[in-house]
């Protein structure tokens, strides 16, 4: 039969000494959260600054211009500035149109507009220029969008890392402190037995537990008290045997009472060591 009792850690009873374990775990989580928050804020500030600089740079890159359609360009070189049309001095100004005017065919003026005068103001590579301009504008917008997304990505990565770190640390902290709280809890159980006068066998700690040296001190203390009890038992048994052999019972009521007390004590001590 093996002397070693095997214990298994279970998640249910990881928090044995709440005060101690939570204090150390929360401290660890708190420090990490504080650092993550403070430095994360700093990261976001600089990321914001860097993003703004990058956006400024993107906006500063000029895109090829598209000639304005409403204004004539010099590209063709054959356009003439428009001049206001002047009426001959002896011609009266045109009267507002009326039903009677239609019948007065003698006062009509004719204006001839040729399509070639309009199409001539557009440069021949207008389509390519417009496409280049708008491609550049869209490209810039995309870059700016990407930069802003990059900034937000940093924020989400920081947030997720911080949250995961806090959760992982909380579990790790509780598990680590459990390796200290576990032996203390075990020793407390032995304390309760010793307080009630029961000196059972002290079993070793589980694998991975901390406070091994401290537990050894306790084992020696336990052995010390057991040794004292055994010495008492030995002494009392020898005395009671000698007293019975000498037939002191009945010699005086005090001796009888004291002997009875010692027998009770002996019985108690023997039981406690069993």
């Amino acid at each position: 039969m093996s002397n070693e009792r095997t214990y298994k850690r279970s998640w249910k009873n990881l928090l044995i000494n709440k005060r101690y374990q939570l204090r150390f775990t929360l401290f660890m989580v708190g420090v990490s959260a504080l650092l993550m928050a403070a430095l994360g804020w700093w990261v976001m500030q600089t990321a914001n600054e860097a993003t703004n600089v990058a956006i400024g740079q993107v906006r500063g890159e000029p895109c090829p211009k598209v000639p304005d359609i409403s204004e004539p360009t010099d590209a063709g070189g054959d356009t003439k500035p428009t001049t206001p049309m002047k009426l001959p001095p002896d011609d009266p100004p045109p009267a507002p149109p009326s039903d009677t005017d239609d019948q007065d065919l003698g006062h009509h003026r004719n204006v001839t507009v040729t399509l070639s005068s309009i199409t001539e103001v557009l440069p021949p590579d207008y389509a390519a220029l417009a496409a280049g301009h708008w491609t550049c504008v869209i490209d810039h917008s995309g870059k700016i969008e990407e930069l802003q997304q990059g900034k937000m990505r940093i924020f989400y990565v920081l947030l997720a890392t911080g949250t995961l770190l806090a959760i992982a640390l909380a579990f790790y902290g509780i598990k680590t402190t459990h390796k200290v709280a576990g032996p203390l809890y075990k020793i407390t159980l032995y304390f309760n037995k010793m307080r009630d006068g029961r000196f059972d066998k002290v079993w070793p700690l589980r694998k991975g537990d901390q406070l091994v040296a401290f537990y050894d001190h306790f084992r020696h203390a336990h052995e010390g008290v057991v040794g004292m009890e055994k010495a008492d038992v030995e002494r009392l048994r020898a005395l009671i045997d000698a007293a019975e052999a000498a037939g002191v019972a009945g010699s005086s009521p005090e001796v009888d009472a004291a002997l009875a007390d010692l027998k009770t004590i002996l019985a108690r001590k023997e039981k406690s060591l069993a």
């Binding site: 020696h220 052995e223 005395l239 005086s252």
Partner: protein
């Protein structure tokens, strides 16, 4: 002796201070003096393994977080500097005379700022680490201290001694554990004291009855007397 009597009747003048005369005896006896312990920096690391383990864990973790986030800060700052430098380089290409010196000055300034940032971060990190380590040593000492104290009591118990023990210092942790230990210790001490009293009582009763003048019983009673004396020594 008349002279002495006169002296008793006419005591010499004394200075009353705070409503008390020197030599006044307080009405109630003072409480038993508690042994005062003072924390000292020299013995803050009582259980190196236990304490340093936690201290190193938290410090390394903090260093990792600070290091990685600090690197991110530096990277972002450096990226901004690079962008500005690139932009200025473009300007220099178009007009070297106007922007040449400005670019050099700005690049040098940004480099100096980036370096200062790194130094600032390293300084802050180291300062933080020192503060954290000191605080953690103090914090873990509040656990290691009670364990050390209980260990000493364990050693006394191992040597067969059960002297009177004192409580923990204010601010110590593991108060519940120590209370449990003290309860056990006091219970055993009280039981031993009662047992010793019972043994003493038998020795006295036998002596009074004159039943142990010779023989085995006499030897046993002598041995018991020595045992009682040893126990009393152990309990004192």
């Amino acid at each position: 002796m008349p002279e002495n009597n006169d002296k008793d009747e006419l005591p010499s003048a004394t200075v009353v201070k705070d409503g008390k005369v020197p030599g006044d005896v307080p009405r109630t006896p003072p409480p038993p003096a508690k042994r005062a312990y003072k924390r000292r920096w020299s013995n803050y690391l009582l259980d190196k393994k236990l304490q340093l383990r936690y201290v190193l864990l938290v410090t390394i973790l903090s260093a990792l977080i600070s290091g990685s986030l600090g690197y991110l800060v530096y990277q972002q700052e450096h990226r901004a500097s690079d962008d500005i430098a690139a932009s200025l380089a473009e300007q220099v290409k178009s007009d070297p005379a106007t922007y040449g010196d400005l670019q050099k000055e700005a690049v040098a300034d940004m480099k100096a700022r980036d370096e200062a940032l790194v130094l600032k971060m390293i300084g802050t990190g180291l300062g933080l680490a020192v503060i954290l380590v000191l605080y953690l040593v103090v914090m873990t000492h509040k656990v290691a201290g009670p364990l050390y104290k209980v260990s000493n009591h364990f050693d006394q118990m191992a040597a067969g001694k059960l002297p009177k023990i004192w409580g923990l210092r204010k601010g110590d942790m593991l108060q519940d554990f120590f209370a449990s230990f003290k309860e056990m210790y006091d219970a055993n001490r009280a039981r031993m004291t009662d047992d010793v009293a019972a043994m003493e009582k038998l020795v006295a009763a036998c002596k009074a009855a004159g039943v142990a003048k010779s023989g085995d019983l006499s030897e046993e009673l002598e041995a018991l007397e020595a045992h009682v004396a040893a126990r009393k020594q152990a309990l004192s």
